[in-house]
């Protein structure tokens, strides 16, 4: 019963500085009972991976509006190394539906393109974290 709260790192990789989506999602996850850490702007993926491991998070939420989502996701997966299977990567931002299969292949557990409802994001994070636990 006394399970620990889901811990999520919300991160803005790359150079884009539009963080409305990142903050709104952070508030929503927090209101849903999760612990949320926000990195701030312009983080490189190596640093994001480092913080994620240090903070022992269950999931990383990447917010990307610059169009570089595919390579950033792939590189974060790499940077997580052998722990990559323990931490779910979720990606939100300016991503077309057609790109979702490629994103999943690159290592994302779920993708939330522009227009996704907050309830869906919260549910998606929860489901991805549960799945990781079951797989372990």
């Amino acid at each position: 019963m006394n399970e620990r709260r889901i811990r999520v790192l919300i991160a803005k990789p790359g150079l884009d500085g539009h963080d409305r989506g990142a903050k709104v999602v952070a508030y929503a996850l927090r209101d849903a009972g999760m612990e949320v850490i926000y990195t701030g702007l312009r983080q490189n993926v190596e640093h994001i991976a480092e913080v994620a491991l240090q903070e022992d998070v269950d999931a990383i939420g990447l917010s990307i509006l610059s169009g570089a989502h595919l390579s950033l996701t792939r590189r974060l997966k790499e940077a997580l190394g052998e722990r990559a299977n323990e931490i779910a990567i979720l990606v939100g931002g300016t991503i077309a539906h057609q790109e979702i299969p490629a994103m999943l292949e690159a290592g994302a557990s779920a993708v939330f393109p522009t227009g996704t409802a907050l309830a869906e994001v919260v549910g998606g994070v929860r489901a991805a974290v549960e799945k990781r636990k079951d797989d372990r």
């Binding site: 790359g14 150079l15 884009d16 500085g17 539009h18 963080d19 409305r20 903050k23 709104v24 952070a26 508030y27 929503a28 927090r30 949320v36 926000y38 990195t39 701030g40 702007l41 312009r42 490189n44 610059s66 169009g67 570089a68 390579s71 950033l72 300016t94 077309a96 539906h97 057609q98 393109p113 522009t114 227009g115 409802a117 907050l118 309830a119």
Partner: protein
């Protein structure tokens, strides 16, 4: 299930008209509606709306168009004299690709250029910087050296076409490049028109392209303004932008208030430098988002003109009408656009454009319908431009200045926006001013919380978005859209070009001019002359910014949720 709207009973009140007949019919109307229940209505900023407005003055000062306090517009005949500038934000890939797009847009009847720069350029990084790899040429054009700027404006006469740059931290460098290109085209600096955004404070809050801490960043801004006063007096040295607050979640009232608070900070910094208000005041312009609440947007722009005129005249002692004028550009689109049923965005943008023109705008960028997904294709960009041309040439809307002036509703709403904005500015100033509010993360938090509340209102159905929470399609949307796809070779091409420029240039001259930039940064002289020399020696943005970073340091963001 939709929420049942709350209802309230209207009470007869406000009997202020002194005309007997009007008074009587007004009383009859009030009695009638007192028995009815009506849904409450608010503007997007939360201002409560009556179902009908009456003559209940006195209202705030109007003046004539072109006269203080410019409530009715900054030009005496407004669009009869000249239409607003149609300026589509555009840029991608390398300078030569973007140059082609500009020429095409000008052929299509666009009347000004708005340069979208890629993030490395905005952040003072070269295209071969390891941090920049994923972002070269993505959200705008990559500019590393003067060679790119020359190519960007090849065949575009800078004495006839003005360019506006969305550039902030590195604005001084881009300005130096632009003036150098004009010089090479043989155009005198005093004839050069255009704009650099050059507004760092809002970057700390909501757009994120900051590099240096506030004090040296403000110094660079005052340097560029001072440089334009003496060398390029027709160039708008700063465009103080509320647009990015708005798109990050601020209400219309917050947007205007935070923008004016920023503007006060910049003007004070110029005054502290010893610049004459009536020499630099005319170089200031503003930039906003127009969102969907049509009349509130009109009121926002009318209130903005009145507030700014008063601030410049009464607080800073500006006497020249050009320094008291609140001239502004807008962007229509942004966070109001939806990924669901994306063609609806064309309609949203058209209404926002109408609101902007009714509000007396000077230049407009209408975003394309595909903005929620990508930068525009040639087709979607064309439709966005045509949206402006239809309003300009087919509707007769531009024929009369301030067509809503004197409307009971608009005048009441203008007054209300003005007083609410004034209260926020007062609050910021009594708590230590805008820089302190930003360093404490106060403005950032207010905007983010507003964005969250707004999202919750949409998700619980309180705020209707057509195609999203009302009239949505039953099946998830998976239609095939023709979207812009970035060329994966862009980064490589730009890096090759940069390497070529580096191999051709005179390295000794680069070293020497960069050393002079460092020396200027250490002292207190205006930075523009040394930056211009470095630019003309083909020093890159990354090289110049490395020197500046060394002396100015970098900003530490207060990360606050």
């Amino acid at each position: 299930m939709a929420n049942a709207p709350e209802t309230r009973i209207l009470q007869p009140s406000r009997m202020t008209s002194n005309d007997g007949d009007i008074h009587e019919s007004e009383q009859r109307w009030r009695k009638r509606v007192a028995k009815l229940t009506v849904a409450p209505a608010k503007t997007s900023s939360g201002i409560e709306l009556d179902p009908l407005y009456f003559e209940d003055g006195p209202h705030g000062e109007l003046g004539m168009p072109g006269d203080y306090p410019f409530t009715r517009g900054v030009q005496p005949t407004m669009y009869r004299g000249r239409l607003w500038t149609m300026r589509q934000y555009s840029g991608f890939g390398t300078a030569s690709e973007t140059n082609q797009r500009y020429r095409w847009l000008l052929e299509q009847g666009q009347t000004g250029i708005s340069v979208a720069l890629d993030l490395p350029t905005q952040l003072g990084m070269d295209s071969d910087d390891p941090m920049a790899i994923d972002d070269v040429g993505r959200v705008g054009v990559a500019i590393d050296t003067l060679a790119d700027m020359e190519e960007l404006f090849a065949g575009i006469p800078l004495d006839r076409v003005s360019a506006s740059f969305t550039i902030n931290s590195t604005a001084s460098i881009l300005l130096a490049m632009y003036l150098a290109v004009a010089e090479r085209q043989g155009v005198a600096a005093e004839k050069i028109a255009g704009t650099i955004q050059n507004d760092i404070l809002k970057e700390y809050v909501s757009r994120g392209t900051w590099i240096f801490p506030p004090a040296p960043a403000l110094r660079l801004i005052v340097d560029t303004i001072e440089h334009c006063v003496t060398h390029a007096p027709r160039f708008n040295a700063i465009s103080i932008a509320g647009a990015h607050f708005r798109d990050a979640g601020a209400t219309a009232v917050q947007e205007l208030a935070f923008t004016l608070a920023d503007a006060i900070t910049y003007v004070q910094a110029c005054v502290d430098r010893g610049l004459d208000i009536d020499q630099f005041g005319r170089l200031l312009s503003f930039y906003f988002y127009t969102h969907n609440d049509l009349f509130e947007e009109v009121a926002k722009y009318r209130a903005g003109r009145r507030l700014w005129a008063r601030i410049m005249k009464e607080r800073f002692g500006a006497n020249d009408r050009n320094s008291q004028m609140f001239r502004f550009g807008v962007v229509c689109g942004g966070s109001t656009l939806t990924a669901q049923q994306p063609f609806n965005n064309v309609v949203r943008v058209a209404y926002q454009l109408l609101a902007s023109v009714l509000g007396g705008v000077q230049s407009v960028f209408t975003a394309a319908w595909d903005e929620p997904f990508a930068i525009p294709t040639e087709q979607s960009a064309e439709l966005a431009l045509r949206t402006q041309q239809v309003l300009a040439y087919e509707t007769n809307v531009p024929s009369v200045a301030d067509p809503l002036g004197g409307s009971y509703f608009i005048e009441a709403l203008t007054d209300k926006v003005e007083s609410e904005v004034g209260a926020i500015i007062d609050h910021i100033e009594t708590t230590g001013g805008m820089v302190a509010a930003i360093e404490k993360g106060m403005i950032q938090r207010e905007i983010a919380q507003e964005a969250y509340r707004n999202q919750l209102r949409i998700e619980n159905g309180e705020q209707i978005v057509v195609g999203v929470n009302r009239f949505a399609r039953a099946e998830p949307e998976r239609e095939h859209l023709e979207l812009y796809r970035p060329d994966p070779q862009i980064g490589e091409r730009q890096r090759q070009k940069l390497a070529e420029v580096r191999s051709r240039r005179d390295e000794a001259r680069v070293k020497q001019t960069l050393a002079q930039v460092g020396e200027a940064a250490r002292g207190t002289v205006n930075m523009m002359s040394s930056i211009s020399d470095a630019v003309k020696a083909y020093a890159s943005i990354g090289e110049i910014c490395a020197v500046l970073r060394e002396h100015f340091g970098t900003y530490q963001e207060p990360v606050a949720l």
